[in-house]
Symmetry: C2
Subunit: 336 residues, 2 copies
């Protein structure tokens, strides 16, 4: 077989191609996240999924007992304490509210503890505590760990289940406070995020904009809780992670100057459709009792269609230009 004889494209040519992709994304899609006043039909939702663009369904979960003052199941600090007094929960503990986040060239993971729910709530609501707690286990905890709450919420989002022809892969309960932030990352799931208590602010970046998110190979490290404070233990393994903070974009940097960050504020009852492979940073805003609480549903994305291939190809090309090598221990990301 005659092997491929390709030409060497110049860096300028490749930069133009990647830059054109960003321009195309920005020209063809809205510069804001649309808000719909009511729930969609399955067909309308699937059209949204097909565009791979986020949308807010305003107040679309208000029929849940968790929101209904007359249901006897309306969520509040006291209601959760009553229901979960005998439940042990898995809690991420960090010094800075930074579970699964980049820090000084490391990818830091939380100390995980298992606490009785009332004790977790005490720690969560103590704003002076030297440890920041976040119940964020993301392991389908809603049906498996919180059966007492299942009558309060939906087991799935029916129009999404019908559209995508599958039940959610996971339903997760999140309980945190303003002290925790989730750093920019992406998930290979179609995500429906329902806000219950407090607010969440999402900062969203499309998969096309991979070159703008400053992906780097970070050394994995895990917090270990000491009697006072934390120790941070580095591992040998490394992990690719976007290191851009959408709230600290440096407009003097060429690629950062080109990124489009979409901001979404999710209020109680709102459902955010967060499309598969979109980068998202999540900031929490506690309610007046100090709580920020959500339930999200992860549906399998379609791995056979253009999105998965597109995101992989864009990532590979941009990493080849910025010197990030997922398979190498030699990372040169000075130029990002």
């Amino acid at each position: 077989m005659v092997h491929s004889t390709l030409q060497q494209p110049s860096v300028d040519a490749l930069e133009t191609i990647v830059s054109d992709l960003l321009d195309l994304q920005h020209e063809l899609t809205p510069s804001f996240v649309p808000i719909r006043p009511s729930i969609p039909t399955a067909l309308e939702f699937l059209r949204q999924v097909h565009t791979n663009f986020p949308v807010i369904y305003r107040a679309a979960a208000f029929d849940w007992p968790a929101f209904n003052p007359t249901s006897g199941r309306r969520w509040s600090k006291q209601y959760l304490l009553d229901r979960l007094r005998d439940t042990t929960v898995s809690v991420a503990e960090t010094p800075l509210g930074n579970a699964d986040a980049p820090l000084d060239g490391m990818f830091v993971q939380p100390h995980t503890s298992h606490l009785p729910f009332p004790q977790f709530m005490d720690k969560l609501l103590d704003l002076d505590a030297d440890t920041v707690c976040y119940m964020q286990s993301q392991n389908n905890n809603m049906p498996t760990e919180f059966p007492q709450l299942l009558d309060d919420v939906a087991m799935d989002i029916t129009w999404a289940t019908e559209a995508l022809n599958s039940k959610p892969e996971a339903a997760n309960l999140w309980i945190g406070s303003s002290r925790s932030t989730t750093s920019l990352h992406k998930d290979p799931y179609e995500n429906l995020h329902v806000q219950v208590l407090g607010q969440k602010v999402f900062k969203l970046i499309s998969p096309a904009e991979h070159i703008c998110v400053k992906e780097s190979m970070l050394t994995k490290a895990t917090y270990q809780k000491l009697s006072v404070g934390f120790n941070l233990t580095a591992e040998t393994e490394r992990q690719p992670w976007p290191t851009l903070d959408p709230d600290a974009v440096d407009s003097r940097d060429y690629w950062q100057s080109k990124v489009r960050v979409l901001e979404v504020v999710l209020n109680p009852g709102d459902i955010l459709y967060l499309p598969a492979l979109w980068y998202h940073k999540v900031i929490q805003v506690s309610d007046k009792e100090g709580l920020c609480c959500s339930v999200n549903y992860w549906y399998d994305m379609d791995f056979t269609g253009p999105l998965w291939q597109f995101a992989n190809f864009v990532q590979s090309i941009s990493n080849s230009l910025t010197g990030v090598d997922h398979n190498s221990d030699c990372v040169k990301d000075d130029n990002i």
Copy 2:
């Protein structure tokens, strides 16, 4: 602003990335076109569109009067002659059945004539004629030029119209014979192709495989019919066009050895979903009266989603590697 300072990726690294994309496409998608025994719901069809993968809906148009022996509108040579005896049709004429096709470094377009339908049929069915005729105008001719046939066929494909939330952009009637072939190309439409008389054989290649289709910048040329034979007049303008013949793949060539050509045989009553931006070559097989006849429906594709960006980005990267420049007059495609 600090301008981007990117690294120069090696040709080998880029070749690996493009090659990995082909492998991913082949691993994640079927190696054949699925056949469904019945029409889909709108939701099922939209899921198919979302995967951007072709499918045949077997015998899905058999409820059309054009297929029904008792309708009095069943299509045949005589029926079409009766209905269209007073209609003038736009006909592509070529010496080789090669309208809109690559030929010796040129992109050749047909001589277009306007003939009374009976005269077109005479020429089409004369297998010894020195001119090959094909009624292939693709300008929404079905409703505009053939109102006499509208009761015989569907005005749209209802489940596609519901799924895509729009009427077709165009419905086209095609009347040809085994003597014409449509060369490999792509269209920016979601396409539903209904076979009525004879068969069509489609050779399909996914958008991910752009580097395999040997896109080249070809000089435009148009056939002009002379009293005997044709003259071919070249223009100054050039046109990018895939020059691969899926029926003459050179397995000694690196990229051609990697291409996956999906073959589909469409019988009367079958509907092919041909996804937007898929390359397709179309071979016609006449029925026993010498006719090959189809109706196709073009629906707008979603330009805001990942597919359009993906196909553009893949095309740009692969053209940068093979030296094809859409904006330049200097083409170096020796290396494809």
